[in-house]
């Protein structure tokens, strides 16, 4: 065990958990409660960044917590992808906390304490997922994430929210119980362990049929990645308040799904095995279909958050595709895309929230001309949109280029074509939102005024500006991130 590394892991888990308890304890005092949230997010970011550096230095933190059954461990071990995911989630938690404070206060939402507690709890789960050393541990925290976010999805508490919550829970837990868990058990049986091993745990341990079945089980089982036809929960979950959609359905939850698929591909199957499995090809077709269909559906949605949700469905399928490309290069691209899309999509969701809290508008058609009064928000929206679309100078361009290159490099034409088509569609359903708000044709004037006196609350705007800046900054630092991720694509000799 490396010195201090176990402490870091412990801290990464304990900080949000402790925060959850503490927030619950001080729930009566909103100021203290929210200060705690922010402090916890900063603390967590510091922890994850130090872990990140350790991993970069080739000294990954390791910790074994428990051994529930013989041969099954709840253990943690950082590797580049997980470290990146942890840093991303914790940093965006901080930003999102800022946003939440503005939003929840601005909307005078009920049950705010439960909201913050569950959020902290969800971050605990995300940390567990990011740091898991084996599929078993990962599954545990994956489920914890589902359950801890259920109260957030049903936050509104009305019938629609409960219905969405049911869909959310049924799809996610259903898939994980019926597909993911059997898959993991299968892996355990085939390989005698579920530990993530660079180059692939299953390499040389399964035949093609078993490999196919396991791959299908695991990829579809990670329904948080919203691969069609298990995508329905994501649009449904949009009944949640904007901060929830922002962090969970742009960053934590959906990225957990994508992360699982990437990690499974890199460390359970390994690119050699993936290349040999026909199921990977079938899944690439499914992913390509998801990319295109989701983009088409997004075009028809007037409700902004729904549109963003469908866009997320498509973008997640990018990562899935990346993970399944018969070349390790896709993994780095997928990891990068995971990070970049997180920044972009959280920006978009926070913009949607800011608009909603300031004006009550949630439909695209109600936002014409709003950019005149909320220029920063819509400029950031444009930045996020262009980042999702993959236009420079936003980071999305790099990950998309890498993905397309990887697809071309492996002669996976269908994936490349789907990505290209969906980029164009993405531009069509995202860019006009901002353009019509910022540069409205005459007569398209702002359809509704502010329902709050001073527009979007300051923290809200600050939060989304930070992430929008992140989209640009990542354009410049994509190389560093990719270099950091490079080890995950390394093959076993």
């Amino acid at each position: 065990m490396t010195s201090g590394g176990d402490l870091l892991i412990f801290l990464a888990l304990a900080t949000p958990l402790f925060a959850a308890v503490a927030i619950y304890a001080v729930g009566r005092m909103p100021d203290v409660r929210e200060t705690l949230t922010v402090i916890a997010s900063i603390a967590l970011s510091i922890v994850t960044i130090s872990m990140f550096m350790r991993v970069g230095a080739g000294n990954p933190p390791v910790l074994t917590v428990a051994r529930p059954l013989a041969g099954l461990e709840i253990a943690f071990r950082l590797e580049p992808l997980g470290a990146l995911f942890a840093v991303m989630a914790s940093a965006l938690w901080g930003v999102n906390s800022l946003f939440s404070i503005g939003y929840m206060r601005g909307k005078r939402e009920a049950n705010q304490t439960r909201f913050y507690v569950c959020f902290a709890f969800a971050m605990f789960a995300v940390m567990g997922i990011a740091m898991a050393a084996n599929l078993f541990t990962l599954f545990i925290f994956y489920e914890v994430l589902t359950f801890s976010t259920y109260p957030l999805v049903t936050h509104a508490g009305d019938a629609a929210a409960r219905r969405a919550g049911r869909i959310y829970l049924a799809t996610l837990v259903g898939a994980s119980l019926v597909l993911f868990l059997p898959g993991i058990v299968g892996v355990h049986l085939a390989a005698g362990s579920t530990t993530f091993i660079p180059g692939g745990l299953l390499t040389g341990k399964v035949n093609v049929v078993t490999g196919n079945v396991l791959l299908l089980l695991l990829v579809f089982g990670a329904a948080k990645a919203a691969l069609m036809p298990l995508h329905g929960w994501l649009p449904a979950a949009m009944v949640a308040p904007a901060p929830v959609s922002a962090l969970l359905h742009a960053v934590a939850v959906v990225k957990a799904g994508a992360f699982v698929i990437l990690k499974t591909s890199a460390y359970i199957f390994g690119s050699d095995l993936i290349s040999a499995l026909p199921a990977a090809t079938w899944l690439l077709w499914v992913a390509a279909g998801t990319i295109v269909i989701a983009s088409l559906v997004a075009m028809t949605k007037d409700e902004l958050k729904l549109r963003l949700a469908w866009s997320t469905v498509g973008q997640l399928a990018y990562v899935t595709s990346a993970a399944l490309l018969p070349a390790a290069a896709g993994l780095v691209a997928g990891g990068l895309h995971m990070l970049i899309h997180a920044f972009a999509k959280i920006t978009l969701f926070m913009c949607a929230g800011a608009i909603y809290v300031a004006t009550g508008a949630s439909k695209v058609s109600e936002m014409r001309g709003l950019g005149r009064s909320m220029p920063i928000v819509f400029a950031c929206f444009l930045a996020g949109a262009l980042c999702v679309v993959g236009l420079p100078p936003f980071a999305g361009m790099w990950s998309k280029f890498l993905l397309i290159t990887a697809a071309f490099g492996t002669q996976t034409w269908i994936t490349a074509a789907a990505m290209i088509v969906s980029s164009l569609l993405g531009l069509l359903y995202l860019a006009p939102v901002a353009i019509r708000a910022l540069l409205p044709p005459a007569g398209d004037g702002s359809s509704g005024g502010f329902i709050r006196p001073y527009g979007a609350p300051g923290p809200v705007v600050a939060a989304l500006a930070i992430t929008a800046a992140g989209c640009v900054a990542l354009f410049l630092f994509a190389d560093a991130v990719a270099a950091y991720l490079a080890p995950i694509a390394r093959r076993v000799p």
Binding site: P392, M397, I404, F408, P432, I435, P441, D479
Partner: protein, 594 residues
């Protein structure tokens, strides 16, 4: 740190960045002076960097990013001449826009110029793609900036097709780079007459994609409508800022990648010819200029396709000249748009009375585009015509170009100034254009003359300066060429006058000329819902069926499983006992008769 050192440092950076930095300044500039510094100083700085020190054919920077070898800055004589045109256009556009307090447009314009500049100085495919994409966004913003309904929709169409082109370019670049194992332009192909031209193999998959992308940006026939659709819908300055870059950049790319690719000859020739008809019939004068742009680009495309040193020189020269005189024409139309509010020929006429300087500038532009000797157009177009004469089997092409030249004269040379400033008096008496506009027009007009009268320095800047200077010495001012051109002009004027007198010339009527763009303008918005409707209906039917099925299943399940349902209903004890007997019998059956 000495000034030289600073310059060294600045010169190591792709000049496009200087413009983009200037754009940042423009975006926050509040007063006119700062704006002027950004709008004019930026291009000036870029020009300085481009010329200092003259490092043609050398990659100034080369680095690794994401595992790709990138070269952000690789100037050579081909890119330098195009860059010169861009910088000039940026500066002139800057001057022209000074009256208008629109930081968004200023910034977008500078970014547009900067990224176009960056693209032509890019030393690798990826950098090129990035700059091209930035240019796409910036240019679209310029269209949207008009803030009118038509502009919004035109902008969307523009953005879509430009982005589609960008995607094709991106995909092509990725594929081609993978095929070749390098993205560096310097490594893609060999030198041809000392210059990297025609380095992409158009028969490869990646090459085809690049060709398609560049083709859209060059407004090849059938994909040209983004151009005629968007330019007329911009603000008065928008068209001026829009006109120089995208198509010219495409010409540069064609020359760099596909020079000597035969199909380009025919594509170019076709491009020169058919816009003539539309231009002649079109009522909106800025749209006429857009068609005219299309037509002029056709000359360049054709020249690139011919692929001789002369033709490439001609294409490059014509590109720059076209930037200047088309810019000038758009400026004059912009002035009218500003003062009158429209550029529809049917609502104009007789404006020379109150806008004499603008009229004059327009005339200079007209004669330049008509390639009257000693004006810019002549200097450049002659090279193309000469190159087209020489090849075997080029007669038809040459005749097409000749026809197009006459056509240019018809619509741009005569129709534009005539309809706008003379013709029948519309009774409108607008104010003369603001000073900054006049200044920009004057500078442009001057440039037209300078190029036309003193072409030597200009020719020295061309991609193949030796051949260019040779052409200058032997052919440019040869009697044959001048006479031929004058004949053409005289006959064209004559034809126009006769047609006009006989009222056979298409009258300036309000209306919309139906072009392929109709498919875009009307078709796409119609087709979307038209396609979406059955899809949505299908989805609704499916959803309905699903809900019915699910509902039925739920109901059935309820009937079976609910607390008073079939299996949960309380059954009499005797029945349970019988059930136990049944199971007993079953177990005995399977045990006894195994």
């Amino acid at each position: 740190m000495t000034v030289e050192r600073l310059l060294d440092l600045g010169a190591a950076i792709n000049p496009g960045f200087h413009l983009i930095i200037a754009a940042l300044l423009a975006a926050v500039a509040k007063d006119t002076f700062t704006r002027a510094v950004a709008l004019i100083g930026g291009p000036a700085l870029a020009l300085l960097v481009m010329l200092y020190p003259p490092v043609a054919g050398v990659e100034v920077s080369r680095e690794m990013f994401l595992g790709f070898q990138l070269s952000l800055y690789r100037p050579d004589s081909l890119s330098l001449i195009f860059g010169l045109g861009f910088v000039l256009a940026a500066a002139l556009g800057g001057v022209y826009s000074l009256h208008r307090r629109d930081r968004m447009q200023d910034a977008a314009g500078l970014v547009y110029a900067g990224s176009a500049l960056g693209a032509i100085f890019a030393g690798d495919l990826i950098t090129l793609v990035i700059f091209a994409e930035v240019a796409t966004v910036a240019s679209a913003l310029l269209v949207f900036a008009a803030r009118t309904g038509p502009a919004y929709h035109a902008g969307l169409r523009f953005l879509t097709i430009q982005f589609a082109a960008g995607l094709l370019l991106t995909a092509g670049a990725a594929l081609y780079g993978l095929e070749k194992g390098t993205f560096l332009i310097a490594d893609l192909g060999g030198l041809w007459n000392g210059l990297l031209v025609g380095i992409v193999d158009p028969a490869s998959a990646g090459g085809m994609l690049i060709f398609a992308g560049v083709g859209i940006k060059a407004a090849f026939p059938l994909v040209h409508n983004w151009l005629t659709d968007s330019y007329p819908n911009t603000t008065e300055t928008g068209a001026v800022v829009l006109s120089p870059y995208t198509t010219t950049m495409a010409v540069y790319l064609l020359a760099r990648f596909f020079a000597g690719y035969d199909p380009l000859i025919w594509i170019g020739a076709a491009m020169t010819v058919y816009p003539v008809f539309f231009a002649v019939m079109e009522n909106d004068l800025r749209k006429v200029l857009a068609y005219s742009t299309n037509n002029q680009i056709g000359f360049m495309v054709c020249a690139v396709g011919i692929g001789s040193t002369l033709s490439i020189n001609g294409a490059a020269a014509h590109a720059v000249a076209h930037i200047v005189f088309k810019g000038l024409l758009f400026m004059t139309m912009g002035a009218i748009k500003l003062r009158v509010g429209t550029t529809k020929a049917s609502e104009l006429g007789g404006l020379h009375r109150t806008m004499p300087w603008t009229t004059l500038a327009c005339l200079v532009g007209s004669v330049s585009i008509s390639a009257l000797p000693f004006f810019a157009g002549y200097t450049s177009k002659t090279m193309i015509m000469t190159a087209a004469e020489s090849g075997p089997g080029m007669l038809i092409v040459w005749l097409m170009l000749l026809f197009a030249s006459a056509g240019v004269l018809e619509h741009s040379g005569i129709k534009i100034p005539f309809m706008a400033f003379f013709s029948h008096d519309s009774g409108k008496r607008p104010e003369e254009a603001p000073f900054n506009m006049l200044l920009a027009m004057g500078l442009s007009a001057g440039l037209c003359l300078v190029i036309g009268i003193y072409p030597g320095w200009f020719y020295a800047l061309l991609p193949f300066p030796d051949q260019a200077l040779e052409f200058l010495a032997q052919d440019l001012v040869s009697t044959a060429h001048i006479i031929q051109q004058l004949q053409l002009l005289v006959f064209a004027v004559l034809a126009f006058m006769i047609l006009w007198r006989l009222k056979l010339y298409p009258a300036e009527r309000p209306g919309v000329i139906i072009d392929i763009e109709w498919l875009w303008r009307k078709g796409a918005p119609e087709a979307g819902p038209a396609l979406a409707k059955p899809m949505r209906a299908g989805a609704r039917i499916l959803a309905g069926l699903a809900s019915i099925v699910i509902g039925r299943m739920q109901m059935a399940a309820r009937q079976v499983f609910a607390s008073d349902g079939l299996v949960s209903r309380k059954v009499p004890l005797s029945a349970t006992a019988i059930l136990a007997l049944c199971i007993l019998g079953l177990v005995m059956l399977v045990s006894l008769f195994q």
